[in-house]
Point group: C2
Chain length 235, copies 2
DNA sequence: ACCTGAACACCGTTCAAGT
DNA sequence: ACCTGAACACCGTTCAAGT
């Protein structure tokens, strides 16, 4: 982050919308979602706040636009080289890779309504692969929503944000609470705790950014795909 | 929302932390997540901002605390009255109901790291049911993460927030874009569009608050449970 | 311990005015 | 159309001081 805006910047650039979104992505990657402010972008570009406001509209709009960009970074595998269930697995992992490259903004895609046609190529691909698998009509849309909702949702939860301004020591506090659970009232949990400490949902204190859950995602994905396989309509 | 704080309020109440969280939940239910500010709570309680700040700490902390409350509203079914897979389905639907009753704060549970022991009874229940089903050791934690990540994640995406300050007309704009997709480049999507318009992920413009996706959730849940059934380790 | 009262730094957004 | 320059209303958070 340049501490002072380049004074000559405004003399040259016409300040396109693309430039605004570029520096927005840069800021959110480096400093987090809370740091992604209109004024921060303006500072970085050596421009008045209203200038960036003019190009991207409200801040909510800006955040959505930056999040939409991630769909461009998902490289889809060739459907002819895989069976349909294999293909879905590969896409899911590609999706995960893309989100993990921009974790601060990626989870927004799961929380904010994204209304961009930029995602339509992916939608088309998934649908056509599901069609080949034998899904049709209602079962097609159901399978689609199951897959997309699972991938987008599970990864969003994995990348949950840690409170940026939280009280220091809340992690230690929670860890301590977990260790002091009564084995009589929580027999299953306490016996599984060695495997779940900071590694399972609701019993972890680090986000997926620091503690990736790749193995857990693969396992969950396998479960879902196997369920999809069993729900292909019989012809 | 009372427009003016009761002047006698501060004379009586000692202002407990519980009271702060109560009015916080009320505000977020009525006016949305952006309206949940420390100052708004202080106004409602007829108190200085620093008073509520003293009880709940930072705003991030406050939001997390309010979100954690939802776990109390999930009423768990009796495991002895269901098979393990049935039981998981019932829990998932209960979970969905609880989240839909406080949609503005519920999705925070999927986005923010929740570190509260208040969720441990649910964790314990799920684990013990999965144990009965035959999962153990690593497969137990995998099944747990698959189920919890799916439910929490899918529902978070369903309840995605609509931008509160967005430009008017962005919905119509997106709808129009969808209708103008080229059938040659998007054959599967355009032919499935009647079923997907405003009803499927990435092709909707209303949140699950206005357009609930109960049917899609049930279908996805069935897929996941069927996948779990297939992944029970053989003894 | 709990809260008042006031201040500080930082926001998004909106004007009018320039070019 | 695009941006300056300034202002407005609203934040979270932090002080010192009271009780």
């Amino acid at each position: 982050m340049t501490k002072a805006a380049k004074p000559d910047a405004k003399a040259r650039l016409p300040l396109t919308r693309k430039a605004v979104l570029d520096t927005a992505l840069k800021i959110v990657d480096e400093a987090g979602l809370d740091a992604l402010t209109i004024r921060a972008i303006a500072r970085e570009l050596g421009v008045y706040p209203n200038a960036v406001h003019w190009h991207v509209g409200s801040r909510t709009n800006l955040v959505g636009a930056v999040a939409s960009r991630l769909f461009d970074e998902i490289t889809l595998p060739d459907p002819r080289k895989h069976t349909w269930d294999e293909w879905l697995e590969v896409v899911a992992r590609q999706w995960r890779d893309a989100m993990h490259q921009h974790p601060n903004i990626a989870m927004v895609a799961g929380t904010h309504l994204v209304t961009t046609t930029g995602a339509m190529p992916i939608v088309e691909r998934i649908l056509s692969v599901l069609l080949d698998a034998g899904f049709e009509d209602e079962s097609l849309v159901d399978a689609y929503n199951a897959f997309v909702g699972f991938v987008l949702g599970w990864l969003t939860v994995e990348l949950s944000r840690e409170p940026e301004n939280a009280d220091r020591g809340w992690k230690d506090e929670f860890e301590e609470d977990l260790d002091q659970l009564d084995p009589n009232t929580f027999p299953a949990l306490t016996s599984a705790m060695p495997r779940m400490r900071n590694a399972a949902f609701l019993t972890r204190w680090d986000s997926g950014r620091q503690q990736p859950m790749a193995g857990a995602f693969d396992a969950a994905l396998t479960v879902l795909i196997s369920g999809l396989r069993a729900s292909v309509p019989k012809r």
